[in-house]
Symmetry: C2
Subunit: 368 residues, 2 copies
């Protein structure tokens, strides 16, 4: 996509407002399962306007580099192209989905969401983003679903917005882009958010952002493609696990993209090291082994990690019920992602679960 796509996308958004649900889409695809992509990024003009202000600031925060690459006056070509795709939640996106054979996008406000804004602004913009997302879904109810933006800066207000997003806006879950102001969700201040997610029975998609300032040192200037995102997000979810969050909120479900950010590759070592509890007096006594929480409280998606070996490993360790398909649109290629999953050496039943059934179950997506 080029810059024109931004315009056509936004025109499309206006032109289609209030349109009837897209009836062109076959409700039961001939292949027997829907292809529901579960980590599909979008944005809205109000958010972009504020991120442009962030991009104009200076600082050493690693997220700022990415924000500047997409929203800054010197945005790189890939960044401006991504921005066009992000802003199009209408006809352009649906056309791209049709072209690649994708049935549903589970939308999420792209990283860093509202998490780099001041608290009041973040709360207000999360509401706006969630309203905009619900409007987009209303136009294409068979083709779009969505994760609500959350402003962890204000946990109690965030919990209220989470309830509104599910009960009023009929969104499907939540997205949080790892740390907020260098703080992690295991801190008790944030527990209202975890409590709300559990009570509403919807997952939190813990999406990457760049390593927090306290972890950023060796990443600065090193250009390790994607690795910092994984380290940040993997560390975050392991902080939750070893802080006992999944004992306190046993039905909380965290979804990790990018083939689980690799944390389940560590399950045997984590189980073993944790069993040496006398090593560090600080290990909290947990009710389950680390690998057991991974199966019970974590689910993963395949976004941007097109490796059949990694998929096979993930199915064997976490179980096929805990693996979902994702593209990471518009940052990754939709056709490649479809091809990856269609050619995966798994059974038809497994493919149906990964492509669609698991997402329908976890996110309460009703595409009939």
């Amino acid at each position: 996509m080029d810059r024109r796509s931004v315009v056509s996308g936004m025109v499309g958004l206006g032109a289609l407002a209030g349109a009837a649900p897209a009836l062109s889409h076959a409700r039961t695809p001939p292949r027997g399962y829907p292809r529901i992509a579960t980590e599909e990024a979008c944005s809205f003009p109000e958010i972009v306007a504020e991120l442009k202000k962030v991009a104009a600031t200076t600082g050493t925060n690693l997220d700022l580099e990415m924000v500047q690459a997409i929203y800054g006056p010197q945005a790189v070509e890939v960044g401006t192209s991504a921005l066009a795709g992000l802003l199009d939640v209408g006809a352009g996106r649906i056309a791209a989905m049709d072209e690649a054979g994708v049935d549903v996008h589970l939308l999420s406000l792209t990283s860093p969401g509202v998490q780099m804004f001041s608290a009041d602004k973040a709360v207000a913009l999360a509401e706006i983003a969630n309203d905009r997302m619900a409007e987009a879904i209303a136009r294409y109810p068979d083709r779009l679903a969505g994760l609500a933006a959350v402003a962890p800066q204000e946990p109690v207000r965030a919990a209220k917005e989470m309830e509104r997003a599910i009960t009023r806006l009929k969104l499907n879950g939540f997205v949080i882009n790892s740390h907020t102001g260098n703080r992690y969700l295991d801190e008790p201040d944030f527990w209202p958010i975890l409590e709300a997610a559990e009570a509403l029975d919807r997952p939190i998609y813990l999406h990457p952002r760049a390593p927090s300032d306290g972890m950023a040192g060796p990443f600065r200037g090193a250009n390790l493609p994607g690795w910092g995102f994984g380290v940040e997000t993997g560390t975050h979810v392991l902080r939750l696990l070893f802080a006992g969050i999944f004992d306190r909120f046993p039905r909380l479900r965290i979804v990790l993209g990018h083939m689980g950010e690799g944390i389940h590759f560590w399950e045997a070592r984590l189980d073993r090291r944790y069993s040496f509890s006398s090593y560090a007096a600080g290990y909290r006594k947990l009710q389950l082994r680390p690998s057991e929480y991974m199966k019970r409280n974590i689910a993963i998606t395949t976004s941007g990690q097109e490796s059949h070996n990694a998929l096979d490993y993930s199915i064997r360790t976490l179980g096929v019920e805990n693996v979902m398909w994702a593209i990471d649109y518009p940052y990754e290629d939709s056709r490649s992602a479809v091809q990856f999953m269609e050619t995966a050496p798994v059974s038809h039943e497994q493919k149906a679960k990964i492509f669609g059934e698991n997402a329908q179950r976890f996110f309460h997506i009703d595409i009939s």
Copy 2:
């Protein structure tokens, strides 16, 4: 082991000085392959004495916690038990190996090696440790091999000691415990070390230590068992890769323990993100894809990661030639490690490579 083992181990060391090679050990085990354990920790009294001084200091460095747990006045029980095992490079260790059915320990000075000492002290202690290690091996040449300690604080002197360790002491490779003073080996100052390893045709075992100060923030107080070690070491080797170190030193071989610290689980995503080179102007142009360097310049061991699924994944992605067996003695259980590998669902030929042949090739271990 308990405190008595420290004493018996050190007595054993003295009593056996100058003893003939242990002839009790069958040179060709009936099973058809030797079991060579490749990440087996040890220490020596001179090093312990200096680490006790480190343990008496205060600071926020994360390694200090581990040093205090083993060497401090309030050392925990597991720590003192480990210390006993570390110091025994004689009869006690051989007996433990016999009991578990382990043929060879490839010794390495336990983390953080000499890397927390001042430069001059580190250089002197590396030489002492390497001399002591060579003496221990001379007593059991069929049962012990060793990786030389390195003092990266003084790269040129380190390179000279590396040459001495291989050509004079007949050691088998090198061990470096990740960062040194929060600096990483991709910095040009350290290149004499990488050049020496390549010229001497011996791997550098990049062993974990705790996250460097610039990365330690989210790990403080979080007690994530083993995860920080992996993040630190994985980040280190990816810094090498994306800095173009393996273009400059194409025959350099880095060995990673703990099932490769998980970095090869990322190979598809790293390849893909790297291909988006226009995203970040800073990506250095590399001659190969990231996953190709992993196969050419990295080898991994199974230390402390007893997962057949992870082993299978590793063989499929890196190739069986690049996977070696390890225990992580005395921190991990030898019998469990043997059992893990003996029961692995691999062919006899693959088992022979992982248990012994690969280590013989990479580390020039001649156990005949």
